[in-house]
């Protein structure tokens, strides 16, 4: 597990305004200085200096991007050559949850490994009626005693759960987050008291639940942010977000800065999920590929794609060991990938409309997929054939 010393948040006196802030290195006329993020942004908006044109800036940007990409790098399946291949998995649907009258858009597991919350046009399980029509994000609090959800109402609201099923849940609702456009994803941090949200307005934000106060906002995406995931590490305070600008960005929750960005997808990134060790993350996109990015090597290290997979991936998640990547697609199927080898292990059918959300349970015993066919399916591994003959999914 990485110690996150990589982040290097230097705090000190800014070379321009001399205030005590989080600093980042900038180059001014080949000289390296340390600016705070405000001064750095001002420098970016300063306008063209002499000898600079838009074209020259563009070529410089391309040059520096190419320089970074040129560094020699292994891809994951090369390093994993000696790892034993996986056999054939037989996964069966063990629970089919019908109850939503409409497309299931999002779901989350409770830490007790048995409960889930899911959302569509009406939040089920305690049946909370939201005033908007699409509830695109929902999350369970770590204690299991509250849920958060939001969508087209541009807000994220927290509902404390009670044992009394007759209690009117809407009465206790707390409006926490306010964005200027739809809410696409939300997640509690390590406690019930803080929520991280992502929105169609292109920003992510960290909120205090009790007061509704905005603690930190994260700007940098050039388009709608569609997904986010918090790092599992104890020492790092980072999260990754994916957006319609085809970028996946890693943020430092403390300073609000983007510490790493990856732009190799060809279309909107619908879903991001950290590898269980926290050293990498996977993303699923409308370009029908899933990709793995290594945070320490700062590059893309694997692409999970096949010529026959044409439809976009809407949702991804890892199994507990990180060996398997489950991805739900818009062609109603779920593909299971061998993360290390880059090959597809299995394809699962069953849903009658696109798979919109997919999560592995917290103890890794099963995974649940939600679909536009109004159902959720919990699947577990029933049987595993040993490797003897490779089928065509090689």
């Amino acid at each position: 597990m990485c110690d996150q010393t990589f982040l290097v948040n230097v705090f000190g006196s800014c070379d321009k305004c001399f205030k005590q802030r989080a600093l980042r290195p900038v180059f001014k006329k080949s000289q390296q200085l340390s600016y705070c993020s405000t001064c750095a942004e001002i420098m970016a908006t300063e306008g063209l200096h002499e000898n600079e044109t838009l074209a020259s800036l563009k070529s410089e940007a391309e040059k520096v991007q190419k320089k970074k990409a040129k560094r020699h790098c292994f891809v994951l399946h090369q390093v994993a050559e000696r790892v034993e291949a996986l056999g054939q998995f037989v996964m069966k649907t063990r629970r089919t949850l019908k109850g939503h009258g409409n497309k299931v858009l999002c779901m989350d597991w409770c830490k007790d490994k048995r409960r889930i919350v899911s959302s569509s046009q009406v939040c089920h399980e305690h049946a909370v009626t939201m005033p908007c029509t699409w509830v695109m994000a929902c999350a369970y609090a770590p204690s299991g005693c509250a849920i958060a959800c939001g969508g087209l109402d541009n807000k994220c609201s927290v509902y404390p759960l009670t044992f009394d099923k007759n209690e009117n849940m809407a009465a206790k609702k707390k409006s926490v987050a306010m964005h200027t456009n739809y809410l696409s994803a939300c997640s509690f941090t390590n406690s019930d008291m803080q929520i991280l949200t992502a929105s169609g307005d292109g920003t992510c934000a960290l909120w205090d639940v009790e007061s509704g106060q905005l603690l930190q906002s994260f700007h940098g995406h050039g388009a709608d942010v569609l997904c986010l995931d918090l790092a599992p590490s104890e020492t790092g305070n980072t999260f990754v977000s994916g957006g319609c600008d085809k970028k996946a960005m890693v943020w430092d929750m403390r300073s609000g800065q983007c510490v790493q960005a990856f732009e190799t997808h060809e279309s909107d990134i619908n879903s991001v999920r950290y590898y269980p060790s926290g050293d990498a993350f996977a993303s699923g996109s409308d370009d029908a590929t899933c990709r793995l990015y290594d945070l320490r090597a700062d590059r893309e290290v694997a692409i999970y794609s096949k010529e026959s997979i044409i439809f976009g991936a809407s949702s991804v998640d890892f199994s507990l060991s990180g060996r398997l990547l489950f991805a739900g697609y818009n062609d109603y199927t779920i593909n299971v990938w061998d993360v290390l080898k880059g090959s597809r292990v299995s394809i699962l059918f069953g849903h009658e409309n696109r798979v919109s959300t997919l999560r592995v349970s917290p103890d890794g015993t099963a995974f649940c997929s939600g679909s536009w066919d109004h159902t959720l399916r919990v699947r577990g591994m029933v049987f595993c054939f040993p490797v003897c003959e490779r089928r065509e999914d090689g």
Binding site: S211, E266, A297, L340
Partner: protein
Amino acid sequence: MTIRHQGQQYRPRMAFLQKIEALVKDMQNPETGVRMQNQRVLVTSVPHAMTGSDVLQWIIQRLWISSLEAQNLGNFIVRYGYIYPLQDPKNLILKPDGSLYRFQTPYFWPTQQWPAEDTDYAIYLAKRNIKKKGILEEYEKENYNFLNQKMNYKWDFVIMQAKEQYRAGKERNKADRYALDCQEKAYWLVHRCPPGMDNVLDYGLDRVTNPNEVKVNQVCLCCIIMYYQQALMRSTVKSSVSLGGIVKYSEQFSSNDAIMSGCLPSNPWITDDTQFWDLNAKLVEIPTKMRVERWAFNFSELIRDPKGRQSFQYFLKKEFSGENLGFWEACEDLKYGDQSKVKEKAEEIYKLFLAPGARRWINIDGKTMDITVKGLKHPHRYVLDAAQTHIYMLMKKDSYARYLKSPIYKEMLAKAIEPQETTKKSSTLPFMRRHLRSSPSPVILRQLEEEAKAREAANTVDITQVMSKLDRRSQLQKELPPK
């Protein structure tokens, strides 16, 4: 033929349409494409017809996939209107038999420049109505009446266009007319689908920004340059090393991964037997062997598991460094807890852990202490970060190693349960399935936990407090003059 993509600018999620088109073009290749032939349908001979099974076979061989997957893909190609059925036009699936299909003309592909407008639809319905009265289906009649009302002001135009098209159609030969009729019908089935059929063109909500509009301005470029300059300077780990780490992690945890290796005694989702969850409850009396072994993988695994943390805390107490974990937990609470109480919490932590002579004083170096004390003048939720990191590293690099060699851990490991595999599977007959009860609500569990904590706090005596009380008492006795 240049195919421009209407709506792609606002529907980049429809990127798959381009890929389907590439596949369909391949299918129409005279040498390597699907086998086509003339077919007699009713009284006309339809050219370039193919059977469903031929299409499926072609897909299987071209893409090297199973027939199930090919069937799924084939269904989509038909649903999006790239191939239409001749005999059962409303049933948009690819039948794996001798049913006949034809390729849709690119003019009618979903990605064309012109949207499927209501006016065009009205003209189409009117034309069919003129051809043979009463031919429209129920839902089409409803649509027709609705459009009539909606576009009453241009209904004359609609009828005129319909008549023109009908007249032009009559001048074509029978085969062409038949083909065009089929194509048009297939097009409208996709773009104005009948009730009960899924609307395949439904892509969900519109996204706010148009990703195809690349706004590259000066600010944007400056930010990109700054970011990449910074990234180039950053020291990265060699990819072989970091990827090696990823592989190692996977291998280490693979036996714990229930989906890969199963779990003992059995996976509750498969057998409906909840023993696995009972044996692995949060603060179970005796944990399982697999769980205890996992604590030895790395420090994070130990800390994250409540039982592991409990055992570690017990060990630290014996080493008289229990305050380290206590401090770390207090810092976590400061960072993630109620933000309105940050100031009070920071003060409390200072009094308890950092102040000279504090009851649970933690041992950190002078520099870190200076930074922390300075920061506490203006407390915020990250004010204790430096101290917390120091203490975490101390526990990880020092205490953790000793813990793993300690009798406490070894005893845990020795006592740990190794459940036997039970193969009793739940019956597939629903009425014979074991009656499943809902697990206790987390709300109730939290209440019980808090009650238990309160009881424990009341029962356990804080030895330092007792000692200080005894000290105080003996001091007082000394001060008081003997009676």
